[in-house]
């Protein structure tokens, strides 16, 4: 019923509202992810990336997947608390997009962030330890799954308010231009965040001031249980960029190399001082919204999920690398074994790490130390 309702809100009536030819729902469009994708030969498709680089990308995809599978296990065992939002099925987006960055560039995203954090170079152990709430975590246990940070790696979090990271990223892009630095700011948001006022305000300022900002919408079609077409009167997110006279592009979010290709153009433009770009990466979440949300049943059918899983970005990329003789099935399996070990070791590291010391409770609220109860009014100290 959820789905009839979704479809209902999304057929004729909906199309009529949109002055745009493409179908109203992905379901009606078998070619949804690939809608705007150019024809390329397998070789062209490799974007001229070196075999090493191409293998690194596969390594990163596998690590993201295995790491989160491990995290899911630990969550089930109660070793991880709070909310935990997995990226399984969407890996091609962050991994393809971050591969388009250089040293010194910045990344910021929402709460579905484990893979972004790993991709920015935070040690798997430090990411897992953060999930465990340990002192060795990348936020020393203060942040958890939704608030990972690494100043050293230019990974700026990890934010829990839908759309809240966009103005923050705008500020980082502002700083880059202010200091005339050779950097780019990349910010990620789910498609549901596009409806927030913060999106509108930020994109206007980014375009008005030509800031080096790359805005990547991870369109996995759902905001929790709400299908995009039930939340937006316009289906094509990339078209929203026109309201800001901002260039935009659509990427196949299940094809890591297509994400790389599209993002690379935007990153180069930003670096050249030509301003921001809006990228819609069309992807799908193979798991529930968070650990408490069933994979399917309420707002999407089992069939839909199964069908989407045929587009598993890892399988798609594995085929690309096989077809082009960059990586054999054997090598792939060896790589997979290796990253499984890394995830395993990350869990062991987290497990064996100490809890934060009680003193940490009152540390880093402010830069200053408290002066005789002037800062903390709880009368506890």
């Amino acid at each position: 019923m959820a789905n009839t309702r979704t479809k209902k809100g999304a057929t004729a009536e909906h199309v009529e509202r949109r002055d745009h030819p493409s179908p109203a729902t992905p379901a009606q469009d078998p070619n949804w992810e690939r809608e705007h994708k150019p024809e390329m030969s397998p070789e062209e498709h490799l974007q001229g990336l070196s075999p090493e680089r191409l293998r690194d990308i596969m390594h990163d995809m596998l690590l993201g997947r295995r790491f989160e599978e491990k995290a899911a296990e630990a969550y089930a065992l109660g070793k991880i608390g709070g909310f935990c939002h997995l990226y399984i099925g969407q890996e091609a987006v962050a991994i393809g997009a971050i591969h388009a960055l250089q040293q010194g560039d910045y990344v910021m995203t929402a709460y579905r962030e484990h893979v972004h954090a790993l991709q920015m170079g935070i040690e798997p152990g430090a990411v897992m330890a953060e999930l465990y709430g340990k002192e060795t975590g990348c936020s020393h246990g203060n942040g958890g799954s939704m608030h990972m940070f690494s100043a050293e790696k230019n990974y700026l979090g990890g934010h829990g308010i839908v759309g809240g990271q966009i103005p923050l990223a705008l500020g980082v892009a502002w700083k880059i231009k202010y200091r005339k630095e050779d950097r780019v700011m990349q910010v990620y948001l789910g498609e549901a965040a596009v409806n927030q006022g913060a999106f509108h305000e930020s994109l206007n300022m980014a375009a008005l001031w030509k800031l080096p900002l790359v805005v990547i919408v991870e369109n996995n079609r759902f905001g929790m249980g709400t299908a995009w077409e039930r939340a937006s009167s316009l289906y094509d997110i990339s078209q929203k960029a026109n309201a800001y006279a901002m260039p935009s592009a659509v990427a196949d979010g299940m094809d890591v190399l297509d994400v790389y290709r599209v993002t690379r153009q935007a990153v180069d433009r930003a670096r050249a001082g030509e301003g921001p770009t809006l990228i819609e990466a069309r992807t799908y979440r193979f798991v529930g919204h968070s650990m408490s949300d069933p994979v399917s049943g309420v707002y999407r059918t089992k069939e839909e999920v199964e069908e989407e899983k045929l587009n598993d970005p890892i399988r798609i990329y594995a085929n690309t690398l096989a077809d082009t003789n960059v990586l054999s099935q054997q090598q792939l399996e060896a790589m997979d074994e290796e990253v499984k070990k890394v995830a395993e070791q990350a869990a062991e590291f987290a497990e064996s790490s100490p809890d934060p010391a009680p003193e940490q409770l009152y540390q880093n609220v402010y830069v200053d130390e408290d002066v005789q109860g002037q800062l903390y009014l709880d009368g506890r100290r």
């Binding site: 936020s139 308010i161 939340a231 809890d355």
Partner: protein
């Protein structure tokens, strides 16, 4: 009387009020197809249809304002915030529009909107998702603020809030949804706003609190009983209107008070209550009024740190012993 959960009590209140008044509708994120992020609206979409149980885009400012506009022209909206942590985005519509519209128009409009949702810290949700903000909302004249701590209060007060002709901010305890308790079945079981309740009578000291913390207060009272201290627990239930008489009465009875709240201390509810006590019951006081609140820090994620940050029965007992000079 049936024993049901706090969640079901709220669900009943919503269903009964929607049944009773066609102008009542429920709007918010995931309230419909998903049956509510916390399942408070379970079954309401099927029962009342898409017109009256409305899933919104993620636009807190927009749909909060929608509720105010609909209320000023005759509807009785119930606007759900998935949690109150996200409602900062809507504060302009709540504080500048809802709270002031009736006054600015000199009474030409009623604003019978109810803003509701889970509040306070659950388990390890970290700084942005663990905030108890009822004090911030109580600051504003024009708003009413309600914080039920039991299933019965949840039902009776939500029905009162929906029927109330002023804007009401209704804070549900995120950790209370599964709490069970006796709830009258009566369709017209309504608890008037502004009436506190003694949840445990006692003679030696008053523990004054509201919402989720009444359970912490009752635990503390139980511990104290073992030490031969007879604590009275007063549940404010509504913070605005505030039952000042009940506050003064309990202090006049015990001459000692410890105030407890889930939120932060600076400008917390406990500061207003302490101020009123020392002003209105000065001569009754045998000791200063002491308080227990969240540690004055953003909520950390790690389990151990979170536990330290939250108010506890132990901390209450410690303060009680201090006001008893033991």
């Amino acid at each position: 009387m049936a024993v049901i959960t706090y969640r079901d009590a709220l669900n009943q209140a919503l269903a009964e009020e929607m049944e009773r008044d066609p102008d009542v509708f429920l709007m918010g994120e995931e309230v419909g197809v998903y049956n509510g992020a916390y399942k408070v609206s379970k079954g309401l979409l099927d029962r009342f249809g898409e017109e009256r149980v409305v899933d919104t885009p993620i636009t807190e400012l927009g749909f909060a304002g929608l509720g105010v506009g609909a209320a000023m022209t005759g509807l009785r909206p119930v606007i759900e915030f998935m949690t109150w942590n996200f409602a900062y985005l809507a504060t302009d519509q709540i504080f500048n529009a809802a709270a002031k519209m009736r006054y600015m128009s000199a009474g030409q409009f009623k604003i019978p909107v109810t803003f509701r949702g889970p509040s306070g810290a659950a388990l390890q949700l970290a700084a942005q998702h663990s905030q108890a903000l009822e004090a911030m909302y109580s600051h504003f004249p024009g708003l009413k603020v309600v914080t039920p701590g039991t299933p019965a209060d949840a039902k009776g007060l939500l029905k009162a809030a929906i029927r109330d002709d002023d804007p009401v901010c209704f804070f549900e305890g995120e950790m209370l949804y599964n709490l069970k308790g006796e709830v009258p079945d009566d369709d017209d079981f309504v608890i008037p706003l502004g009436v506190a309740e003694v949840k445990r009578p006692g003679a030696d000291v008053s523990i004054i609190t509201h919402g989720k913390m009444i359970n912490v207060a009752l635990q503390a009272a139980a511990k104290l009983e073992k030490d031969g201290v007879d604590a009275e627990v007063l549940d404010l239930r509504t913070l605005r209107p505030l039952d000042v008489e009940a506050i003064v009465a309990t202090v006049a009875k015990t001459n000692r008070a410890v105030l407890l709240e889930e939120g932060w201390p600076y400008g917390g509810i406990t500061t207003t209550v302490a101020t009123l006590i020392q002003e209105l019951a000065f001569d009754h006081l045998d000791a200063p009024v002491l308080r227990v609140t969240q540690a004055d820090v953003p909520m950390p994620y790690a389990k151990g740190l979170e536990k330290l940050a939250k108010p506890s029965a132990e901390l209450v007992v410690e303060k009680v012993n201090r006001v008893l000079y033991r």
